[in-house]
């Protein structure tokens, strides 16, 4: 069964919006600090991995801008970081797809750490932000979040015959 590109586009952005919702959902401070995965980044990375011709660097940039608007960050910080992360996923697409999910989540953990470091650096240089070490602790939940996101979105992709 062949779906129109528009349908694929719609489902991808719907999943991005769901991730945005999870990203800004209020949680108790402790959970918020250590156990909130980077939902939007990971969802965008899934689509950059699975359908790089539908969701590439430019789309990831737009997803990052949406997060900037929702977070109240200077417009462009998350945008550029999402775009660069997506570039990594798209460029190493063929290699990454052959890895097991656990291997992938280790790589994604590295990617999230790099994202957080560069985002923190950008914010403290240009925005006078105060970056604490506990901020980086939150990246380790990626190890659990990535398999979950991967299997959920793969199910969505296969059920709806997205390509």
């Amino acid at each position: 069964m062949r779906r129109s590109p528009f349908f694929t586009f719609l489902i991808i952005w719907l999943s991005i919006l769901c991730a945005a919702l999870l990203q800004i959902l209020p949680l108790p401070p402790l959970v918020d600090e250590y156990f909130r995965p980077q939902w939007m980044l990971l969802t965008a990375m899934y689509w950059a991995l699975a359908l790089p011709n539908r969701f590439g660097i430019g789309s990831a940039w737009i997803a990052g801008l949406i997060l900037d608007v929702l977070w109240g960050t200077t417009l462009g910080f998350n945008g550029v970081m999402f775009g660069l992360c997506a570039a990594f996923m798209v460029e190493n697409n063929h290699k990454l797809r052959t890895y097991s999910v656990w291997h992938q989540s280790l790589i994604l953990l590295g990617l999230v750490l790099v994202y957080q470091m560069l985002f923190g650096t950008l914010s403290s240089w240009l925005d006078d932000a105060l970056v604490t070490n506990s901020y980086y602790a939150s990246s380790f939940i990626t190890l659990l979040a990535w398999p979950w996101i991967f299997f959920t979105l793969r199910k969505v992709r296969r059920r709806l015959f997205l390509s």
């Binding site: 800004i24 959902l25 105060l130």
Partner: protein, 283 residues
């Protein structure tokens, strides 16, 4: 059928493009405020949905409160109201007298003629910013730079506004500074946020300045942003290091910045001769 290999631009071109575009966005972030306003209006339903579960939970806990609890609460509030209205009577008299005297001196005082109660929308924000989202926006005349207080003291100022909600930067944020006055001796100071809701700092206070632990600091009204006289913080620690000119002074915000739920938006205005009683609009 499109394949992976039909890319219009190579990745390197795209990467350079997004980096340049993002740089332009960051550099022109001030002039992009209107565009940002529309974008955040567009995405504000997400914020409403995200904060809905917690608000529903709040409502539930409100409805299942027992009759005794409500009665006790009611009684306490009545007593509080009585004591407050007593103080208010005196205050109004003093305020009128003060504004008459000020008028004689030719330096009218800035008062707030309009206030509005707003509720904090519980949504997550930038990990490095101390900011909250309010459920009032342009449709309620909220503007950028507007002072926000709660029942104890100053909370912060509005930094971003869209049709239905607004974003408030708390006074304890790392990028925030607020002009202050020591209530005891009128010394002017600057309160600097340090990214910690329980602690702020006073900047550039020489060692011989008269500041003591326990001093109450109020807004000085300088800077034309916060109206004069609202309590902000109390001094909790003074440290003098041997060879430095300035002493390190720690202050503690009066407003409970980590557990605010309702705040008051203020519309400061220059006092006119026929000062009417400030009206409080309920939400």
């Amino acid at each position: 059928m499109k394949t992976i290999f039909t890319r219009r631009f190579p990745a390197s071109v795209k990467i350079i493009a997004i980096v340049v575009l993002s740089l332009l966005l960051v550099l022109s972030s001030d002039s992009l405020a209107p565009a940002r306003q529309y974008l955040s209006t567009f995405f504000s339903p997400l914020q409403v949905i995200a904060s809905a579960p917690l608000e529903a939970l709040d409502n539930v806990s409100e409805t299942v409160k027992s009759r005794e609890t409500l009665m006790a609460e009611n009684q306490k509030l009545r007593q509080l109201e009585l004591s407050i209205s007593d103080r208010l009577l005196k205050l109004e008299h003093l305020e009128q007298e003060n504004s008459r005297l000020r008028a004689m001196l030719g330096s009218p005082v800035v008062t707030t003629q309009r206030k509005l109660i707003a509720r904090i929308q519980s949504v997550d924000t930038d990990p490095f910013r101390l900011q909250v989202v309010l459920n009032k926006g342009i449709k309620d005349d909220v503007f950028i730079g507007q002072p926000v207080v709660d029942e104890h003291g100053v909370v912060g100022q509005v930094v971003e506004v869209n049709e239905f909600s607004s974003r408030v930067l708390l006074i304890a944020d790392n990028s925030h500074a607020i002009p202050l006055r020591n209530q005891r001796n009128d010394v002017r100071l600057i309160g600097l946020g340090r990214g910690d809701v329980h602690q702020m700092e006073l900047q550039y206070v020489t060692k011989n300045t008269d500041v003591k632990i326990g001093d109450m600091l109020v807004t000085s009204g300088l800077g034309d942003r916060f109206p004069e006289g609202y309590p902000v913080a109390s001094v909790t620690g003074i440290e003098n290091r041997g060879n430095e000119i300035y002493s390190t002074i720690r202050i503690r915000p009066i407003a409970q910045l980590d557990r605010i739920r309702y705040v008051l938006l203020l519309w400061p205005e220059l006092a006119t001769s026929d000062a009417s009683a400030p009206e409080v609009l309920s939400q």
